[in-house]
Symmetry: C2
Subunit: 297 residues, 2 copies
Amino acid sequence: MSLPQLGFIGLGIMGRPMCANLLKAGYSLTVWNRSQPGIDEVVGYGARAGATPADVAAQSDVVITMVTDSPDVQRVVLGDDGVIHGARPGSVVIDMTTMSPSVTREIAAALGDRGVEMLDAPVSGGDVGAKAGTLSIMVGGKEEVFERCLPVFQAMGKNIIHIGANGAGQTCKLCNQIAVAINMLAGCEAIMFAARSGIDPGKMLSAISAGAAGSWMLSNLAPRIVNRDFAPGFMIRLAQKDLRLVLEGANEMQLPLPGTALMNQVWRAVQADGGDDLGTQAAIVAMEKWAGIKVGE
Amino acid sequence: MSLPQLGFIGLGIMGRPMCANLLKAGYSLTVWNRSQPGIDEVVGYGARAGATPADVAAQSDVVITMVTDSPDVQRVVLGDDGVIHGARPGSVVIDMTTMSPSVTREIAAALGDRGVEMLDAPVSGGDVGAKAGTLSIMVGGKEEVFERCLPVFQAMGKNIIHIGANGAGQTCKLCNQIAVAINMLAGCEAIMFAARSGIDPGKMLSAISAGAAGSWMLSNLAPRIVNRDFAPGFMIRLAQKDLRLVLEGANEMQLPLPGTALMNQVWRAVQADGGDDLGTQAAIVAMEKWAGIKVGE
């Protein structure tokens, strides 16, 4: 069986290494991006440039989109020159952006009217996971379409799970972001209590990280707080975009999420202070201001 | 060098297996407990019964206390017939109860006036860790006394860290409880969002637990929520005792801890409903009532 022809739209910090891994797995790839530098880089890896999203779709059996937010996906899929105007019946659109579950269902319905399948397949693992091909991929859509696309996912990720119908992948990703956000709150409050009490926050982290208090966050980002390293692994403004999707969804469903709302406010305080592009661990800066102390001083 | 004579006070669900491990390591042990059944069990393992805490101390180089809360430690150490009335100058009291850092410092000072050393050495790992001898032990007190007692700790635990002066071990344990509590909030909100959205919470957990959202809590207690297993690994009333210590300490230090305070209220709602002796994962029950849904239904 010959490999499907792939299209890829959105050549940012995630899309570029994902394309590199697809090419490495032997797929032929037609790409499009809003700006030229991303295209040049991925063409350098061996991809062909398409003229428009519709043109990419016309040349592809499977089109992957990896852009920023719901409106971007709507634009490249449903807009003028969008994927929908080029995609053949029976082809598949895989959206790997983190975006709204309800907008996902709208787009899937619009594509379905033209006989085009859709999977929502947001990822976790960041640019490190994208480069290493170890992304976690949470997939919504028909099981049969998921099975058909599994080899494509396996070229980009490791923990690949079909969650349910369209939107279910996005919902799962938002659950992920809820836990990431509140685990950050956990680390920040533990560090604040240590620092305010006068014990060494680094020793505290060594003592508690291996036990029932342990988390990826505590092992990976909390030590950066202690070292005052606020460089972005994941930027606050992107975490806040995701929490906006969570809180909008929760609002639609009338679901109280007090911890998520709290963390949204903590990061907002950092943003108010110019911290949009800092790493999420800079949440500590807002907590330090409230408490009138600085960790490690 | 001959092994020190040990005393052990407090033969509950934690103390009994800890005594078993000390006896297995070759220590001779004099014990005391408020009630007889604990004494009978540990005497059965090979310990001697002391008449009072003071009597235990008179026969010991190192006395370990493992009771419930600050007033219990004050009673068995400083009360009538307390450890302080039997302990020789140069001997050591190791308190492994989770209790107030400031009360710890008061007790250490009172013992110090008699020439008796003290270490605060609360643990994490629960009865499972106590039985396996794999407790994490967070120690406050003089470094020299810590080094001297290290072999005793090694008979009961694995990750044994000297944090700082007296009270530092307790402070570190409270940091642990902060992170444990807020990680639970993270798991509950992620599960609520999944359930309310109509995706399978178990699949969601499989998809997110290995990545940046991962935590001990998500891997170990969240699946029990999905299975509606609320049997106690750690009881809500004990978690609440610890959060009371955290919030009292935070109040003394004028430290805002909004996430901890929130989780304290969530568990309080479960307690109000008769859930004192349920496992901490029963927090979900309060969140379900707010949201008017049940996970998995």
